[in-house]
Symmetry: C2
């Protein structure tokens, strides 16, 4: 396999800007011990869950405890035209946190307060460092929940910045639909607010949605107002094995096309079931499976489940296993939530190069089956999981980071998959973001006119190019 | 009532830019008879459903039949730094179509083709001039529908430009949630595409949602890809009268807070019921009423309807009338759809100054009841309807456009209402847009920092300020 164009893209383009000692001194003076230049701290903040490992870490890490801290840090950095990179929990898969142009990491994990719960309005306002599990734990007594579940216990700030989604998005939407308003520190260190707590608004440009998915390149989100949902009266989960990936996918397509309001429908392929069985001793049938969940009134859940079981059976689905209690449901979902870790452990020392294509539901089988055949032909180990109800799935190609030829195989597979998804009317990234890894794909997908419009907006809002520079597009 | 600050805002600030004869000649050469300078055509395109009547019309109207037409018109206008104002059907309520800085109207109503229906993916791509009723007529055979219903048979381009919503938004969302992708002619006459047909994406800045709601100030949308929904298996509508507006509103709040997936819940006050009875001989009880609709499986619709009837009865709701057949449902909805026309006819020669606040659902009663009392105290005639499930409602104050004192009373009431809504965490406009009428309100709502960010984006993307200038904010 020979793919020099792709290979050239495997390592990010690193142009470290100078971080003057005067700036570090100013940070130390302003933040005291909350500004760290310790090597181990810098290294922790200079990497993420992507397969990039060779970028020098940020020059310093500031632990912000308030919006004012973030604003002051940005103002100081702006004076010296030094990049700032916001950091939540470090669960990016696309290199968002890497200091490819040098600079300062602003860690917002201590900004972890839930500022107000408005249970009557189904809204909550949180600081950016609150994680999704913390949020759901703290609001449990209200009878409400926040459904967006990207797998990792990511920060709400990071989830907003990458327009994250995950298993519940098929019913509840993504961060795009669930962020109502923001407090943002701009590139000049000014604090602005976008949106209101009203459910809808036509008041001017949708700055909220411009910021959601901007990957830290237009501003740093410090407070986020989210929609919440009443905990469903009834929840029922099911696992169903299929004779082939195709049968599982055709079942999914039919469920969606019939408009069944399923809350979750996740695919796990046979490889991955084997890895999960080995990791968590689940004893699942080592066949492709769908994990499903139904939310609603008891009658509605029963009706949805019956219809879905009929559809699955028509496609050869078997071994339906139902889970109604929270404990049983947790056991079933263990398979999905452990897939990534089970895969990583199946090949010691490996990194996963994760794909993230999303296609219109009618094209899901075309996109997925050809890509499975291509991956199998190379012999590369991989895991395959998918939020298939949305047409979104992830291959995780397991590579030894020390072996360029493995990385190249993975990248070539990824390129072929993305080309296929775009040709089918889809996107290169359903939920992970562009980061460092998908800049070329974005250009192909959106076209140079649209990417130039993004660049024009970036230049206008961040004229010194200090907000997480070098991500999404080259500038 | 003395309110000079508001009064100064009653007429838009008109700074006509020169439209050189050379440009008109160039338009005539390019578009032939599809470029009209006839007075009657220009006047038709220089007004809308707002109460503004005194702005000179555009210098010419171009009837575009393709994206290339729009692009060429924008390029010609750009050469001469002359404003362009896109025109769909003219149903704006906020002065969006008025040529406050002069310029050319680009009428897209002939761009009325449905370009592709992807029934399997629940998507459709249309030209900007397609109207919502035309769309639903043409896709009827697919078993799908497009739910957004702002009342007027608006164009999809206009609905996208104002981030419109209407009666079904409580269940199906607004144009914000239902536009998947766009083709846009930029200020330089370049054609770009945003979004894909995939259900979700994290591929760079959300240009789609930046354009949706930008009111023609950042580009002209020429093609729009929308989500569709399966026609519900069962639909049931109900009308219920209440002893007071408060009882109707409290019923609504409880329905929403319980998470009942109601498709429509509309308030009509007793004044407006009287106007509608006079106009359409409906014989409805002249009390505040809620119009509701339930979509889903037969079992789910039955369950929703029973729960809602219980809630309504607890709040004194009575005279429940149910409609299951399409004909019966149409009769019930006549009351809602005729409200505007019935009101206008109740006072010959009047114009309506419409309010559009939207507040978090828990604050709906506070916001609405005080505003009713204020309006009643002035004695001004008005209609009151509301998409109350979203916390959004409209007073339409009926004024004689020749009587400044009536306009002033209406504007003062509007100012008080907006101030109240903002104080309760809401927005000045739930669905009509800012246009000319709410620029001061936007500044109060969003703050100067956020509005400056909007201005910065506008300047960057439209450096000559030719795209519908003078709307949303002063520049």
């Amino acid at each position: 396999m020979n793919a020099p164009a792709q290979a050239a893209h495997l390592l990010p383009d690193v142009h470290q800007r100078e971080v003057p000692q005067a700036l570090i001194d100013a940070f130390k003076a302003r933040f005291g011990e909350r500004c760290s230049t310790a090597q181990v701290v810098r290294e922790q903040h200079g990497r993420d869950e992507s397969a990039y490992t060779t970028v020098p870490p940020p020059a310093a890490v500031v632990f912000a405890e308030s919006t004012t801290d973030v604003a002051d840090a940005v103002k100081l950095a702006s004076e010296h035209s030094v990049p700032v990179i916001p950091f939540g929990v470090g669960s990016s898969l696309e290199g968002h946190l890497l200091a490819v142009q040098g600079g300062i990491s602003i860690d917002v994990s201590r900004m972890n307060k839930i500022l107000s719960v408005n249970a009557e309005d189904l809204t909550v306002t949180v600081q950016a460092g609150v994680t999704r599990k913390q949020l759901n734990d703290e609001i449990k007594s209200t009878g409400l929940f926040f459904p967006i579940d990207p797998g990792a216990d990511a920060s709400i700030g990071g989830m907003s910045a990458t327009r994250a989604s995950g298993t519940n998005a098929v019913r509840y939407g993504t961060m795009r639909e669930n962020v109502l308003g923001l407090e943002v520190v701009t590139a000049s260190g000014e604090v602005i607010r976008t949106g209101t707590r009203a459910k809808k608004s036509s008041a001017g440009y949708d700055l909220t949605r411009l910021m959601v998915g901007s990957e830290g390149t237009l501003g740093i989100m410090t407070e986020i107002t989210l929609k919440l949902y009443p905990l469903p009266e009834a929840i029922s989960a099911a696992i169903c094995s299929f004779p082939s990936i195709e049968a599982a996918v055709r079942t999914t397509i039919q469920i969606i096309q019939m408009g069944i309001p399923i809350a979750r429908v996740e695919l796990i392929d046979a490889h991955t079931v084997r890895m999960v069985n080995a990791y968590a001793k689940l004893g699942l049938r080592e066949e492709p499976l769908l994990l499903m969940e139904f939310h609603g009134s008891p009658a509605s859940v029963k009706e949805q489940a019956e219809t879905v079981q009929e559809i699955a059976t028509e496609h050869g689905g078997n071994a339906f296993e139902w889970a109604v209690t929270p404990e049983e449901r947790t056991r079933l979902w263990t398979a999905r939530h452990n897939a990534y870790f089970a895969a990583i452990q199946s090949k010691p020392g490996c990194r996963a190069i994760s794909t993230d294509t999303c296609v219109p539901i009618s094209r899901l089988a075309d996109c997925l089956l050809d890509s499975v055949a291509e991956a199998d032909a190379t012999g590369i180990p991989y895991f395959l999981v998918g939020h298939v109800g949305d047409g979104n799935f992830h291959f995780g190609y397991l590579i030894d980071p020390e072996l360029p030829q493995e990385r190249e195989i993975a990248e070539v597979l990824n390129h072929k998959l993305v080309a296929r998804a775009l040709q089918l009317g889809g996107t290169c990234t359903g939920e992970h973001g562009v980061g460092l890894h998908k800049m070329d794909f974005l250009l192909t997908e959106a076209g140079s006119g649209a990417v130039d419009m993004m660049r024009t907006i970036k230049r206008a809002l961040d004229p010194k190019n200090i907000m997480n520079p070098g991500k999404i597009f080259a500038l």
